[in-house]
Amino acid sequence: MLAAEMLSAEESDLRCKLQGFASDVLANGAQSWDIAQALPVEALQRCGAVGYFGAMLPKKFGGLGWGALEYGLLNEAIGAHSVSLTGVINVQNMVAQSILKWGNIDQQDEWLPRLASGELLSAFALTEPGAGSDIEAISTTIVDDGDHLVIEGLKTWITFGDRAGLFLVIGKLAGKSTAVLVERHAAGLETTPHSNMIGFRASHLGQVRFDQCRIPKSHILGRPGIAFPFVVPYALDLGRLNIAFAALGMLRTCLEMCGEHVLGRETFGGRLISHATISALLADMGVDFSACEAVCIGCANVRDKGALNAMDATMIAKYFVTRAASKHVQNAIQIMGAQGCHEGSPLARFMGDAKTMEIIEGSNQIHQMILGPRFAALHRKKRSVASQANSLNDELDTIASLS
């Protein structure tokens, strides 16, 4: 409501256009896709045809060249209907941006145009049975074998893992964290679906097994040693932007459904909204939606400006919006009563999606572990660190005068 004013006329038009696309393509199918635990090829093709799988890639690779805000608005629009589809868009853009950032020219030319068009869909293979938030515990090994690499290991809970044509795999080569690109047809790669998840049910989550899987050595992304400190955080940072906006879309759907219900339904001689307890739930939901909208748009603007605190802003957005979405999906079900409790209701689906969003791309507890000390440091600085170190802005001004 308030944050929408932060958008330019052009950005508002794009938002409407994206929401129109999402309604056309998703509104009637999203529920059945999650029940069937599969995304139809037609929906993926339609997203590919309009460039959404390469939304943030430069136009020279066939992408749309979008910034964070446009990409965020896309995920908001799609998240309002199908969080599962935002999951696929997310991993596709994470892999594509990783290749753009860390890949060499040959790798970019080979994979980015096909990723942009959606001809090739991808997955980010990081998590293992024994390594989730603690990525250093990853046990997948990558062994140097002349012109080739041999991968041995098991990845699990991989979004689109059961369908992807290209995998960005994180393992260890001679003890050094390393990212490699593995095509589905590589010998020794096998995938199996993870069925009956509570959230992202149509995202084709899968287990990916590498059994003496051989790939060309030229498929190393960047170089050995950079995966944990650079490749993974960079990809997850983009993933958090997706999650924040997708959760915002989900929250918007909650408001729309509840709004229609409480204004139309009569109880005890009056409309549902006339009861103070229901009004309070709607007020909380609306206020949190407005705040989430502001946080998401603000975060995207910070990223698009190239500000140094963009990663912090994105963590704040992911944490804040997923927490709000989880709370208000439950409240929406409370308001809708039995109508929200059936598998035919998007709200029942959203409940599992929202909980999952609090876990993926760095659990919200990991966010707390990082953001807590950050806020403490920032506020302490205001009182005392400023006296220990010169003002950061002054320093940056000095630096700017040098460069």
Partner: protein, 86 residues
Amino acid sequence: MDDTRQMDIEAAKSGIRAYVSQHAGRGDFCDDLNLFDAGLVNSLFVIELMTFIEKSFCVKIEMNDLDMENFESVNAMAALLRKKGI
């Protein structure tokens, strides 16, 4: 090293120190201190340091620069900048 360049490096170190201080919540560390081993920042912060250096000093961090050792202390980052011609 001429005086002007020495001054530039000192200014760069001061900027790096201020940026780290902002995130660590303290500024009482020496330029040789390994920021990660000392627990002032965690390993996830290295990519932010990389971005800070690229944007603040208008330099390109190349693939061969992506070693934790290049970001582990104020002096290490200053040395990296010297390599980049600052």
